[in-house]
């Protein structure tokens, strides 16, 4: 390599070019000192200049002002790296856990290729954020990372594939379930069994961290003849099996029909590949109907009987009660958060942190880490509300995001705020599981548990009648939103099937709605750049607005994680 090439590479990787208008400006030391201490004002940041080509990497990480940069470095970057190591040891059941972690990293693509890039996930989600918003959102991310490590370590410890075909430690105490089966179903067995969603870590969370990996699973699914139009989430879920990239960590499996026809159909293929007792726990489609509740409750009870019989464990009412009550505390805080988000400009959680954290913990069920994180966030939120700190001060539009989000670009809302001042206050999947779990009697408990899971992610709005999906307009009012980001999941038949009604309603109600097409985990169908272009076009041609940060309007990040 020639020196010229080295220099060019260095410039490409590290040197941020000055903006043309900055080049000939005389040096202003006072301003430089102010920028050093407080960070540049939003309109002068030029965040787009920090990217290395289309990689999504940074020439250097953003200077957020002295205090925030130091906070980010110490309390986010260093803190999380250190705690990740701690979690690997802690959840790996001692030093052997490190060996299992290493073996897992070398065995599974979704592990080795994906999760080590996790700090970039933080960077993408918290780009441009300052102060309390940055801090609170980072705590949510920290919770998700810790829980992810717990789950994959539990899988690795038990995994047959990593232990020469023999059952690993705890294998017989693990119960696998489809990622869309709520963790709350297993509360009566917590302490006796470990419930681990089979695809949550290998597929769902991994796409957010690194969108490259999942493409292998989608391709694998299609390689055996599946057309490309079914929901790519389901494709990826069973692609894991075709690609032989699923850990074998439990003797039985529970599956469900949540959230769509594709999920039902996926179960057939999973049953084939897994070949072990599989219990289907379907949920009623017309879930508003009081007459369907008894059937679902009975199915839940049958699932419990199945677990008791398969594992030789006993239903523990006290454990259920304790765990459900503990989960209720998370729900209470969620409602508190919604209240602040809906009625004040002091809500310190970004759109992406809100969405991911909510869907993760509510699906996963009660775990100590969520309480720990909520305590941190509660402290920050109390501070922002008490001191009236506007956490997203450049907000021009309060948006609600509806339908399911692009997993490879869930951080689009960070970009939208930085570029256009669109503050995504709430999203559809955050509004799921909106149910308090009574524990005064067994009957009430069963009733609420059933009802809560009928309102699980995606299905709560997407099935059971058009009135659910059209509740957008009520939520829009409740959260004081003036704009809708309408996710247009191209392969979701349920949402495609009601497309025109939304168009009619938006026109009738004179609502600004931006349709954002995407293919859930598959960034090849609609790229992030195309998504941004659609929003840019709307903001310039319909809203006639100027970007807050022009460097973010058009940039390429096709090869980024």
């Amino acid at each position: 390599m020639k020196l010229k090439d080295v220099k060019a590479k260095y410039r490409e990787l590290f040197v941020v070019e000055k903006a043309p208008e900055e080049k000939n400006k005389p040096k202003d030391l006072k301003k430089a000192a102010r920028d050093f201490w407080y960070g540049k004002p939003h309109e002068e940041r030029r965040l787009g200049d920090l990217y290395v080509g289309d990689t999504g990497l940074y020439k250097h990480r953003e200077w957020r002002g002295f205090m925030d940069t130091m906070y980010y470095f110490n309390m986010i970057w260093l803190y999380n790296y250190a705690h990740m190591v701690g979690d690997i040891v802690k959840y790996g059941d001692g030093p052997e856990g490190i060996v299992d972690f290493f073996k897992g990293t070398m065995r599974y693509r979704w592990m080795g290729q994906t999760y080590l890039t996790v700090m970039h996930w933080f960077d993408r989600g918290m780009e441009g954020m300052r102060g309390e918003a940055m801090k609170a959102s980072a705590w949510h991310y920290r919770g998700m990372v810790s829980e992810t490590i717990r789950q994959f370590q539990e899988m690795f410890i038990a995994d047959k594939k990593m232990h020469g075909g023999k059952e690993g430690k705890n294998w017989s105490k693990n119960i696998a379930h489809n990622e869309t089966v709520g963790g709350s179903f297993f509360y009566p067995f917590r302490g006796q069994l470990e419930d681990i969603p089979l695809e949550m870590i290998p597929y769902f969370v991994s796409v957010h961290v690194n969108s490259h990996t999942v493409l292998n699973y989608i391709d694998a699914a299609q390689s055996i003849g599946l057309p490309s139009d079914p929901c790519p989430m389901c494709q990826a879920e069973y692609g894991l099996f075709v690609h032989d990239d699923y850990p074998d960590f439990a003797p039985a499996m529970i599956t469900t029909n949540e959230a769509c026809d594709g999920s039902v159909a996926t179960s057939v293929l999973q049953d084939w590949f897994l070949n072990r007792p599989l219990y289907a726990l379907p949920q009623p489609m017309r879930y508003d109907d009081p007459l369907v509740q008894k059937n679902h409750q009975k199915e839940i009870e049958n699932a419990w009987k199945f677990i008791e019989e398969t594992y030789g464990v006993k239903f523990n009412w006290e454990e259920y009660k304790k765990t459900a009550e503990s989960f209720n505390k998370l729900t209470e805080f969620e409602w508190e958060k919604w209240d602040v988000a809906a009625n004040t400009p002091y809500y310190p959680i970004s759109g992406v942190a809100q969405a991911l954290y909510r869907i993760y913990y509510s699906q996963d069920g009660d775990r100590p880490i969520w309480h720990e994180m909520d305590e941190h966030v509660k402290r920050i939120m109390n501070k922002t509300v008490k001191n009236k700190i506007e956490t997203f001060p450049k907000t021009r539009h309060r948006a609600i995001a509806w339908s399911c989000a692009p997993l490879y670009y869930s951080h689009w809302c960070t970009w939208a705020y930085n570029c256009w001042g669109i503050n995504c206050v709430i999203n559809m999947d955050s509004l799921m599981f909106d149910q308090y779990l009574r524990t005064d009697t067994y009957e009430h408990a069963l009733e609420d548990l059933s009802w809560m899971n009928e309102k699980a992610p995606m299905r709560a709005m997407a099935v059971g009648g058009h009135e659910h999906i059209l509740s957008l307009f009520n939520y829009m009012e409740r959260f004081n939103c003036d704009m809708v980001i309408m996710y247009d999941q191209l392969q979701c038949k349920g949402m495609q099937g009601i497309h025109g009604v939304f168009e009619d309603e938006f026109r009738k109600r004179n609502i600004h709605a931006i349709w954002v097409p995407h293919a859930l985990p598959d960034k090849r169908t609609v790229s992030r750049k195309e998504i941004r272009q659609i929003i840019n076009d709307y903001m310039t041609t319909v809203m006639h607005e100027e970007p807050l940060d022009p460097t973010l309007v058009d940039f390429d990040d096709d090869k980024s994680w």
Binding site: T55, Q113, N216
Partner: protein, 75 residues
């Protein structure tokens, strides 16, 4: 006391250097660059060349270990 102070001073100095290096790694996104340019291609190569079981060759009618029928059948 003097030797302790000396040790402490050295420790602080060492910690400061480590801290400085870590800050440089953080600020210049060296962790990201390492992952992107070195680690990930290495892993892709590894996983692309990994020998994998062809699960589609599993006979469909393997009748072992299915769910207890009393929960799933019409009685």
């Amino acid at each position: 006391m003097k030797s302790f102070l000396k040790f402490f001073g050295k420790f602080i100095g060492f910690a400061a250097v480590v801290y400085g290096i870590l800050f440089a790694v953080f600020y210049w996104d060296l962790d990201g660059k390492f992952m992107y340019y070195i680690w990930e291609p290495m892993m892709i190569k590894r996983f692309d060349n990994m020998k994998r079981a062809d699960n589609t060759t599993i006979p469909y009618f393997q009748k072992e270990a299915v769910a207890p029928s009393e929960y799933t059948e019409i009685l």
